[in-house]
Point group: C2
Chain length 308, copies 2
């Protein structure tokens, strides 16, 4: 076992943070390290929190942390913002939250920003969640900024996915369109004191009844800023966890993870070899100055890769 | 030249449609075919239309088609919905539009739904746009459903990206957060007769002034359902096109395209070999029934790939 992994598994937060920078920098031994770390996972309850921008997810997550902490549970948080160019370090919202929980050794918050395309972000999210799980956090909260495909991909790593909406979220028909119904284990109507809250609450209940296919998908109201309804959300998550966790790690998802890892690694190798002096540098030079035809360059690169 | 490509280039719509099913099914000769098709591209003006769900993008695109047609321009439309499981065929909104433009040989509409992760959707979008461009459409409109990372990736294929917002789109600060400012060449405030339209219009103008870094980013108002402001949008697009097209195909984007193509192809090869009887079937069997550790399987697959 890598000494740093050993130190991390013994409960050293600084070792955990250092391993997270390995994920950021795609350390050359990352695959081997994660292979060992992965074996230690399986304890943490992984809870996704997604929903449209402006739904108050950050505030809600903040209150969920406090509620879980009241129960004595330790909490890791991964805040994923596919649109943010910031990598690794804390983005604004997390700085604020970090101040609040800075003195609490039972909380660890980590932000992840854009990693380009090619599954980089969902891969990094998986790695960070794996590290937090192995470290021993009882709960890992995965918060995303939006409801796009990348955010939905990221949610694959969660056992339970909660979707946060607000009265302004618009017709629930749009919610369905965004594919949220299929991934939601729990709906939360936040800012529930606002006009229209009852309407969206009822619409969601009807929708859940029609489309949940026998699953129990609770719909709850919260006012996160006033700490109203938070303990009920935690309770609902814990009730769900027993029922849904077993089915969470599906065969299809494992295969997706493998494909993520393989394609991410191949892209990294190609990118690495495309810089000046690399074995693919001439191909990319030719692409940019001569034919400008990506299909030609891709074909040539694929021609250099062979299966043993 | 492939006979089907020849027929397509001669203006045969059925050949165009058949080549699009090659994209859907990832035909084994697709890379070679696209290599040849790509050479014939470069004429079409590629216009992206993105924005949050409910902004009225479909209606707007419908009216833009009509406005371009009044000028005698032919129009191809790619409607991209990352959350829709429908592939290839028309989704509901497009069926309606297709009826309207069904008798018009100068219009071709194609929907693209979810293609799993690993850049499948942005790759398919590129291929379809490439086909439409080579076929000879004067304008290719690329419409997306949301504003997530996948949708932003898809916009890489456009020369000009228009972002559609409505008064209900919420604080413009959220717009910035979603990374739209960096990709927008043009903002459209649709449903401009609604309350709050003036406020978001002014906010966008301030934002553009502060963050556009010298680019001319017009902000326009429309009421698409009443056909108000549409011709002005078309005019603005045409004014922009001269200025922005040259810079559109940047070196970085070409490299991204290559990486998309390479990783997509490798994933397809892995997926193909993972089925019963394939050379990787035993590895995936072992993953699902024994270790359940994706890092181990990925490591083994990568060990079988070598660079010539």
């Amino acid at each position: 076992l890598d000494p740093l992994v050993k130190t991390m598994l013994s409960g050293d937060r600084r070792a955990l943070a250092r391993l997270m920078t390995y994920v950021d920098n795609r350390h050359e031994n990352l695959m081997d390290i994660m292979k060992d770390v992965y074996v230690r996972t399986g304890r943490a309850l992984r809870v996704g929190v997604t929903g449209p921008p402006g739904a108050g997810k950050s505030t809600l997550v903040d209150k969920l942390i406090t509620s879980f902490r009241k129960q004595g549970k330790t909490v890791g948080v991964v805040a994923v913002d596919p649109s943010s160019p910031f990598t690794g370090g804390a983005i604004l919202g997390d700085r604020i939250r970090m101040v609040e929980h800075a003195q609490d050794d039972g909380v660890f918050i980590r932000s992840l920003g854009s990693r380009g395309s090619h599954g980089g972000l969902s891969r990094a999210t998986r790695d960070i969640v794996t590290l937090m799980d192995a470290f021993g956090f009882d709960v890992v909260l995965i918060e995303t900024v939006g409801v796009g495909q990348t955010e939905l991909d990221v949610m694959n790593v969660a056992h339970i996915t909660s979707v946060v909406l607000v009265p302004e979220s618009g017709d629930t028909i749009q919610t369905m369109k965004a594919g949220l119904m299929e991934i939601a284990d729990l709906f939360i109507v936040n800012k529930a004191d606002r006009e229209g809250a009852d309407r969206i609450f009822m619409e969601l209940q009807v929708m859940v009844e029609m489309f949940s296919e026998g699953r129990d998908v609770p719909v709850l109201k919260t006012q996160a800023v006033k700490n109203i309804g938070i303990d009920e959300v935690v309770q609902a998550i814990q009730n769900l966890s027993a029922a849904t966790r077993q089915t969470a790690v599906k065969e299809g998802l494992l295969k997706e993870e493998v494909l993520d890892l393989v394609s991410g690694e191949i892209c990294a190798q190609v990118a690495q070899q495309s810089v000046d002096g690399g074995s693919l540098a001439a191909l990319f030079q030719d692409l940019n100055t001569n034919h400008r035809n990506p299909y030609v360059t891709a074909g040539e690169i694929l021609g250099r890769l062979s299966w043993k």
